[in-house]
């Protein structure tokens, strides 16, 4: 990560564009609108408005833990991460494995008894826990298709859309 210089550069750009509003300066930290699509399979990628979310959230740590140098929100984390030491990686996908229960990942955890946080959830899990979790309390979108449209593969998987069971059978199961 480019660190401070990159941050300053972004701030400068934003200041030039929008003036001196503190919110704009804050929004400069991190990407604007990003597509989260590394897992896309049953659903299409998610268009994530990072700028809007940094406005909504009280602190970057609401999503990024202490990795950006902010105090942890979660009290259980603060116990050990009070120093707010910035981390080398900031993007969720760099720490949270896409394939949490793959045999080789599990073997890696087991091979090194020194490893900490071996229960760290996978990427799909943290996106939903974090994103959906906040949306449920702050009136963000919570429906499965509010964040990502289902792909055709998804419709076949969930037996919905054009793969839905025939209506006659549907009714029979109704009573």
């Amino acid at each position: 990560m480019g660190g401070k210089t990159k941050k300053l550069l972004r701030v400068a750009v934003v200041l030039a564009a929008w003036g001196l509003a503190p919110h704009a300066a804050l929004a400069a930290d991190g990407p604007g609108v990003v597509e989260l699509g590394s897992l896309s399979n049953l659903f299409e990628p998610v268009t994530f408005n990072h700028t809007m979310h940094t406005d909504v959230a009280k602190s970057c740590a609401e999503c990024h833990h202490h990795t950006l140098g902010d105090a942890p929100i979660d009290k259980t984390c603060a116990r050990c991460h009070r120093a707010n030491q910035p981390a080398d990686s900031v993007a969720c996908r760099e720490c949270h494995p896409a394939n949490r229960f793959a045999a080789d990942y599990l073997a890696k955890l087991e091979a090194n008894p020194q490893l900490y946080h071996t229960g760290k959830p996978g990427l799909k899990g943290v996106y939903h826990r974090k994103c959906l979790g906040c949306h449920r309390t702050m009136d963000g979108p919570t429906g499965c298709e509010d964040c990502h449209k289902m792909t055709e593969k998804g419709e076949a998987f969930y037996r919905t859309g054009k793969f839905a069971p025939p209506p006659a059978k549907h009714e029979a199961g109704e009573e």
Binding site: A103, G119, F157, Y158, R159, T160, P165, G173
Partner: protein, 313 residues
């Protein structure tokens, strides 16, 4: 009239015969201490506080196990309100090895709680011990699997199971065979991969790992959030322990768990039972072999057309 539940029925049979078996050696303590599960077996820790009731696990199970099309799409939430046999909560069937149910808990801030249900893969499975044709196996990986070619459809396992899991497929009228969750043994677990439902879950409600590690993890979660969780891992000790373990923020009896099963494996009762009635061992196998031969012969005639259905282990 009080309904006789299946387990009491088993127990009752034993108590009645206890006098007869006064000299029997297989005491409950001995039986339960004899096995206790494979030390390195895998398991799944299910955390109901994280479930949002999306039914993705049900869809994943259906696909992985090649089960018949459901009556409604897996995106349809109306199944949570269906009434079956006078009860609102669905049970596992021969067409659905796992189901999610909704429990409305008055006063729970997060709203209703959802519970995923499937075979618990007991450490000392009652289905296995009760099976007279040895159709069941507890694998070192932790799964309780069955050989449908051996199953004679006697339904003893249905009666023995403390969780009412095994179901019967009647698709072939001549030879109903047991159907239940096998923890995706033949397609995944055997190769070190998690069951399909675990991997599919968007919320990572379930953690797949060594059972003994999961128990530690469960207790850690409780310790980190004592105000959130009920201080109990269901399945750690119930009926001698199960491979599937559960955490909840509502008392387990409010999410459909039987909290009166005790920690004694059902196997103990059955073992006593078998010790007491040796005739069962000598006569029943012969009887069932007879049934089975009959059934398989009929089955063979149907095999060609039914080949695709016979997805046993």
């Amino acid at each position: 009239m009080k309904k006789i539940d299946r387990r009491n029925f088993l127990k009752g049979g034993l108590a009645g015969g206890a006098a007869l078996a006064a000299t029997g050696k297989a005491t409950k303590a001995e039986a339960s201490g004899s096995f206790g599960g494979y030390p390195n077996s895998m398991g799944v820790l299910v955390d109901f506080t994280k479930c949002v009731g999306c039914r993705t696990c049900e869809a994943a199970c259906n696909k992985e196990q090649g089960l018949p099309a459901p009556d409604k799409p897996f995106t349809d939430k109306s199944v949570f309100d269906e009434i079956h046999h006078g009860k609102r909560h669905r049970r596992t069937t021969e067409k659905a090895f796992t189901v999610v149910n909704r429990y409305d808990i008055p006063g729970r801030a997060e709203g209703p709680i959802y519970r995923k249900f499937q075979c618990n893969h007991c450490q000392e499975p009652a289905c296995l011990t009760s099976c007279f044709v040895n159709a069941y196996t507890k694998t070192p990986e932790g799964a309780v699997i069955y050989n449908s070619k051996v199953c004679v459809g006697c339904r003893t396992c249905m009666i023995a199971c403390p969780f009412y899991v095994p179901a019967y497929a009647y698709s072939s009228a001549t030879n109903p065979i047991v159907r239940k969750c096998i923890m995706c043994y033949d397609t995944r677990l055997k190769f070190g991969r998690p069951p399909a439902c675990v991997e599919a879950c968007p919320q990572e409600v379930m953690v797949f790992g060594r059972r003994k590690d999961l128990i530690k993890m469960g207790h850690e979660r409780i310790k980190e959030h004592p105000d959130k969780y009920v201080d109990h891992i269901y399945g750690e000790n119930e009926v001698g322990g199960t491979s599937w373990l559960y955490l909840s923020d509502v008392p387990f009896d409010q999410v459909g768990f039987d909290t009166h099963l005790g920690n004694e494996p059902i196997i103990s009762y059955v073992k006593d039972f078998l010790a007491m009635v040796p005739i069962v061992l000598t006569v029943w196998p012969a009887l069932f072999t007879g049934f089975h031969l009959l059934a398989t012969r009929k089955e063979e005639a149907n095999t060609k057309e039914n080949e695709s259905k016979g997805r046993g282990v």
